[in-house]
């Protein structure tokens, strides 16, 4: 018999009976651990830590069903028999690669054209309207005197400063490149997704990121623009760089300046060059608001969030009757807060043109 009292967190993680309980919800294992915990209450904190660690690594709780897996396996085997030795996949692969290269060239070519047509200091409007006509664009202008939070469909967050304007595609999350256009100052907290890089187009500068938080200050009317990084890494290009890249096609190593956390780059149009410096205190500037609720009706909670973040939340008030919340939110993102509340009201939320839509099925 294993002496679980001698176990530390790591030992629990590799124990088959423990895993059967946590990962598979095995009935016998569940029974065993409930009894064991009742008899060893002093070990419960450690057991809970180990449990949470395993669950945090598991993430997808609803995995593929056996039927889905069968379909996938059959589908793959089906492709084998129709193949000769060298195989169709290789051919398809090549085709895919070409399609991607072509798409990339198109984008860069398109930008090059823009730069020529609208040289440095080009009108924000002109750039933002050049996307394909079928695409619906969302534009947010902060004409209040307080920062405003804009939620993007990919769950990235933008804090837009007064007098600033942001525009983006309404189906941003579905596009191969997540592109937003900014006139003014904004702080971005971008959800990491290496397959879909995120770009901020602004006066003179283009900022490319994979997933990170950073600030861009680039007013159309001003001759100076800057980008400052809080976490992660970003690459900054001038529109001129892009123009050059267009001419020499996509040559690796061309243009772009890489910024690390707490670094800032300033670009001045007159000197036409970058100045890199160190900054501090960006985190304090963009501290998430803190909330404390005590048996507060959920509708009032939403009002508080709307006010603090400057966003719109749409819901059906009658469905929230009777739900009250007692909670303290601190150091939490708006998305985490929405998740928690939705959990309580047994609903879901999604972002539509920058508005939060709450759905409940009560």
């Amino acid at each position: 018999m294993t002496d679980y009292r001698k176990f530390i967190v790591e030992d629990f993680l590799t124990d088959p009976l423990f895993r059967a309980w946590v990962l598979n919800g095995d009935a016998q294992a569940t029974d065993f651990w409930q009894h064991w915990l009742a008899g060893n209450p002093d070990r419960s904190a450690m057991v809970e830590d180990a449990r949470a660690l395993l669950l945090a690594m598991a993430e997808k709780r609803q995995m593929l069903s056996d039927d889905e897996l069968d379909t996938i396996v059959e589908g793959t085997l089906g492709k084998l028999s129709s193949n000769t030795e060298t195989g169709q996949p290789t051919v398809r692969r090549m085709y895919l690669v070409w399609a991607r290269v072509a798409a990339a060239v198109l984008v860069v070519a398109g930008l090059g054209w823009l730069v020529q047509k609208f040289p440095l200091g080009a009108s924000f409007k002109a750039i933002s309207t050049t996307s394909s006509p079928s695409e619906i664009r969302v534009e947010r202008t902060n004409d209040t005197d307080r920062p405003m939070t804009v939620l993007l469909g990919d769950k990235s967050t933008v804090i837009l400063q007064p007098g600033s304007r942001l525009s983006f595609s309404s189906a941003l999350e579905k596009e191969p490149r997540r592109i937003v256009y900014l006139d003014g100052e904004a702080f971005f907290d971008v959800v990491k997704d290496p397959a879909h890089p995120f770009f901020v187009y602004s006066n003179q500068l283009i900022t490319r990121v994979l997933g990170t938080s950073f600030r861009v200050v680039a007013y159309e009317r001003e001759k100076q623009a800057s980008v400052s990084v809080l976490t992660g890494k970003v690459t900054v290009f001038t529109k001129k760089d892009l123009e050059k890249m267009d001419r020499i096609a996509i040559r690796p190593g061309a243009g772009g300046l890489v910024l690390s956390p707490n670094e800032q780059v300033t670009f001045s149009q007159n000197k036409a060059r970058f100045t890199k410096s160190r900054i501090q205190g960006l985190a304090n500037l963009y501290h998430p608001p803190r909330f404390s609720f005590d048996e507060t009706p959920v509708a009032d909670v939403f009002s508080a969030l709307e006010k603090a973040y400057g966003i719109d939340i749409e819901y059906e008030p009658e469905k929230l009757d009777g739900y009250r919340l007692t909670a303290t939110f601190s150091e939490m993102s708006l998305h985490d807060e929405l998740h928690l509340i939705c959990r309580i009201i047994k609903g879901t939320y999604h972002i539509e043109e920058g508005r939060v839509i709450i759905e409940t099925d009560r």
Partner: protein, 204 residues
């Protein structure tokens, strides 16, 4: 118990021999055994499930097409994991726009393991909160420590298998695991003191 690592290894080698001989069902069996683990592993690097499913399918098709020339791996599981890892890396970095070595991608020159537990699906409130926190703590670890912890404790790979998957020495694997737990333990302690969220629900 057929779940012992040694039994699994000899079962896998047998399946591999069969598929080299042209037995499609052997390839299917390997897929059935490892598909879910591979998908979960891939999700640590990339959230696009369709992209990952394509990668895994292509991985198995390539094995089939090259079965005559591939040398049999001593450890099929580790071979599949490391192949998928390389494949995702290659695919992701094929995105050619603006990519150059000293750009933001340079720091990704392995891959980033990111945990995003679906903690809100966990019914027990305190466990959900603890899981959210653990996910956060895991993500604070340096990326190689994250991946080692995941491969060892979630995927149950041995030290040598992890070394093969990540192309590092077994000694480095041990060091990384040790460091990760030193880091985690420190942070768990501070979290326990400052658990900042207390949530109760009143249905009136």
């Amino acid at each position: 118990m057929s779940n012992l690592p040694e039994t699994n290894r000899s079962r896998d080698s047998q399946l591999w021999k069969d598929l080299v001989l042209g037995n499609e069902q052997a390839l299917g069996s390997l897929m059935r055994i490892y598909y879910r683990s591979l998908l979960n592993y891939g999700q640590k690097f990339n959230r696009d499930e369709e992209f990952l499913k394509d990668c895994i399918q292509e991985l198995f098709i390539e094995i089939w097409n090259r079965r005559q020339t591939l040398s049999s791996p001593d450890n099929v599981k580790a071979y599949l994991f490391s192949s998928l890892r390389r494949k995702i890396y290659r695919e992701v970095h094929k995105l050619p726009l603006f990519s150059h070595p000293e750009s933001a991608d340079a720091e990704d020159s392995g891959l980033h393991v990111e945990f995003s537990p679906e903690w809100w699906l966990i019914e027990e409130e305190s466990l959900a909160e603890r899981t959210r926190k653990m996910g956060h703590l895991l993500n604070l670890l340096p990326k190689r420590q994250r991946e080692v912890i995941y491969l060892k404790y979630y995927q149950e790979l041995s030290r040598d298998e992890i070394a093969q998957v990540m192309s590092i020495s077994p000694q480095t694997v041990s060091n990384l695991i040790h460091l990760a737990f030193v880091n985690l333990r420190d942070r768990i302690k501070t979290v326990a003191i400052s658990l900042f969220i207390i949530l109760t629900l009143f249905l009136v």
